[in-house]
Symmetry: C2
Subunit: 241 residues, 2 copies
């Protein structure tokens, strides 16, 4: 970590600015995590008030993305960072975009909970709750890894997504049987299916943030490599640090 | 346009590099458009060979994103662009990310066509074809607008997404009736539903590219504003050019 100059800038002012943005990202991440947790709770408990709060707060998340993004571009223009400083700014720009989209999912789940579900859909929702909590945990962990730019943690979280995918597939199968047994449930099951799909995509977005951490720490783009090659590269000592 | 210095850099070398990247984005955009067109054709005609080619070529799209992204970061580090030059580089970084995800959709549609559909699903596929062509047209238009950084075209394309959404909703309703009439169709209809959803999201991604064009031309972030406020801002003369 030390070699990445996280805290050793020649310009104290630049250091302060970068730290400020990193703090903003953490605040945004915390808000998105809260939004997602609340959305899932609202869905499970049919809590309309909580759902409405998540919907109202989505604009806060959006505006944080715009603010941080703008701040990053101004830092690039003014401070002209290079090497790991520039990678950090790029990593932040990409991470907040993922966070904003996770915030959108929370907002959509809340909207669905508010508009479409009734008490008779409780079994559908219970099946989503565990998947939802899993996604929240992944998000929590990846935000923690991002704060510390912890490569090992990021590798573990990256692999965790397979479990989320498996859980999702199980839910799809289960929901399909409901529809087949009673076609009258089709509209509400479909709504649950789309929610499940959206939650499953959160796992993918957390994987994207892992890849951003790989990029920052290793100075190399690890996207689109696939499992084995990724393992090999992450284990290799011949990469630029 | 002239005021944006698209072609008036003091450094001829920098100018050449920026032009080179812009050309790369156009090549990538052309490839993604072809991938999407082929995916929809493969789906409609049950053309396994074409579907396989789209799947194989997805990695090309992915690698183009990584290359262009890397090139952009190196330009920032080396040339330290500011103002509209920096906005152009940022616009490119964000646009290729959207293009890569549209490429993913083409690959997923092809995979679905190859694995899950049979000739008995022809009616499902026909209903997706028109939506697919609409999405291809939007992508084509937005790439064209991006090349010219044409604000007016971008505004029109941005509004076009409402029509895609409407078409998508019609398809969902139609597909739901199939399932209700004959529950045995549920698995294949679900597959078609997820394809429709993925195609509908392409419209959203084209909207994102429109917002990137707004950002480049107007020097201001227009995301998350909503229809009316967006109209007002885009029409206003009091914005920094």
């Amino acid at each position: 970590m030390d070699s990445l100059n996280l805290n050793k800038h020649i310009s104290g002012q630049f250091n302060a600015e970068l730290e400020h943005i990193r703090t903003q990202v953490m605040i945004m991440g915390g808000l998105v995590e809260q939004q997602l947790t609340d959305a899932i709770t609202a869905m499970q408990n049919m809590d309309g008030e909580l759902a409405q709060r998540v919907i109202n707060d989505d604009q806060k998340v959006n505006m944080m993305e715009v603010d941080i993004d703008d701040h990053c571009v101004r830092i690039i223009a003014k401070r002209q960072p290079t090497a790991s400083d520039l990678r950090m700014v790029m990593a932040i720009i990409k991470t907040i975009s993922e966070l904003e989209r996770i915030g959108d999912v929370a907002e959509k789940i809340s909207r669905t909970a508010l508009e479409k579900f009734g008490h008779n859909h409780q079994p559908l929702l219970v099946s989503l709750e565990s998947l939802g909590r899993h996604a929240v945990q992944m998000l929590h962990d990846v935000l923690d890894a991002f704060t510390r730019m912890d490569l090992n943690a990021a590798v573990q979280i990256y692999r965790e997504d397979k479990k989320v995918d498996k859980e999702y597939e199980g839910i799809i199968r289960q929901l399909m049987t409901y529809m087949m047994e009673d076609p009258r449930t089709i509209p509400s099951v479909l709504t649950a299916l789309f929610c499940a799909r959206a939650i499953e995509r959160i796992g993918d977005r957390c994987q994207n943030i892992c890849e951003i951490i790989f990029y920052f720490v290793k100075g190399q783009d690890f996207r689109h490599l696939g499992g084995d090659k990724l393992d090999q590269l992450l284990a290799g000592d011949d990469l630029p640090e």
